[in-house]
Symmetry: C2
């Protein structure tokens, strides 16, 4: 079993309740990465649903979670439809809710019932140098410890690795699991939250950028191999930023789109 | 009181329950526009919160709602924080849930506590011909009745009004309330769902495009006057499309960002 599979596992307690544990290896600074903390909630929703894949996952991050602490997941199906299931799940630690997630689940390998002919629209992947010519995320110096890089290998386009106030706030690069496990549609909400903040390439080390709300649309089951990603922050107002991203698989197909509302804090 | 204010009003019944009524004037085809049906849920969440503005609103559209029918809203605060409130609300008609909404509420006029200095990132509005030189939405021929245009004046950039399979799927234009009421931050989730589908400019009449999930980030309280908008669909897979949009106020400031997962159905 891969590390991400075992370290996001849940144990059913009945009536939509599950026991889980968040591992500190997935921390950003002293708290678990939001995309990681979300996965036990997603797995609980998938466990209750007749559909195998996430189509849309929204998480509201209520309070920081704690690594190396037990967690309880409470999940509920809101509507079980023929082609989609709507569900919600909460992760609590020490009796306090840490995040609440809302998902639409379906089958990525089946077209939507009654789908129109494909209009041929897609987003092309960036033309990146190969991973071995990119820069490890740790070398970028975000201004926060990154234990998560023991689990995820993240490599950034070299031109973006030196912050410059004249840069647009864009980050592009590669990602894979360090244990060699192939990417899986279920892990895409984590992968969509695993790159350095796009603002880093413009502002320099930005520390921890707390996510308020994250929505990930999963588009296809990824082919094995590296994922490519591009994230852009184009809109900051009163310290609240919008960051949008796209992930592609090794075949060049779009596998996820993401958008988050996050906070850019002074240091 | 403006039409949108009175036709999305709620009456408190106690314990987070509210009575509402959806008006058929806001229909797209034979069902209320999703952004309109969402507003009583948003208003119930705002009623329970100490914060005046929506920051992030996600809606899951479970089943079509019905115009000219009573509705019941059930709302709950998930977390009441100092600078944000997280809340959820469900709209039911005839005892059946129609949509569930999840919001982060705050104060758009107050920077986030501890906000970093502004990095100066924003999105410029499109350079549109004035509204009187644009084309009324009704003239585009979406392939569905649009009673909602009695409430909202929507004018589209003329070059986009003639569908062409070589076009990118982009729609740009102007929007205002027909009764002359100024735009309000609370109505932005409706305004972000009120333009013709961006796919129309490429595919021609597409009929009703059911939204599965819509997330709107409200960025600023809008200045009075017309709103400008730009929506793009760049990603369709198995009939499931991603459409992303931005709205600006008459002063050229970004007031909302939107993204939805919708269905493109054969006709």
């Amino acid at each position: 079993m891969s590390e991400v599979e075992s370290e996001t596992s849940i144990r059913a307690l009945g009536e939509g309740r599950y026991a889980a544990r968040l591992d500190a290896t997935w921390n950003i600074g002293s708290n678990p990465n939001g995309g990681y903390a979300l996965l036990p909630a997603l797995r609980a929703m998938l466990d209750l649903a007749a559909h195998p894949d996430p189509l849309s996952v929204t998480a509201h991050f209520l309070r920081p979670a704690s690594g190396d602490h037990d967690a309880e997941v409470t999940a509920r199906v809101v509507r079980a439809g023929r082609s989609t299931t709507y569900a919600t799940a909460t992760i609590a630690q020490a009796g306090t809710p840490r995040l609440i997630a809302h998902a639409v689940l379906g089958d990525l390998t089946a077209p939507a019932p009654g789908a129109a002919p494909d209009p041929g629209l897609t987003v092309d992947p960036p033309d990146l140098p190969p991973p071995e010519r990119c820069v490890g995320r740790r070398q970028l110096g975000q201004g926060v410890d990154l234990p998560i890089l023991d689990r995820l290998e993240v490599r950034i386009r070299p031109e973006l690795a030196t912050p410059d106030a004249s840069h647009p706030a864009i980050v592009e690069g590669w990602l894979r699991l360090t244990d060699g496990a192939p990417p899986d549609a279920r892990w895409l909400p984590l992968f969509a939250d695993a790159f350095p903040p796009a603002l880093l390439t413009r502002m320099g080390p930005v520390g921890w950028v707390p996510t308020i709300e994250l929505t990930v649309h999963v588009r296809r089951r990824p082919a094995p191999g590296w994922l490519l990603a591009r994230f852009e922050c184009d809109d900051v107002e009163g310290g609240r930023m919008i960051e949008s991203g796209t992930l592609w698989d090794s075949a060049g197909a779009v596998v996820a789109r993401s958008r988050q509302l996050g906070l850019v804090l002074g240091r």
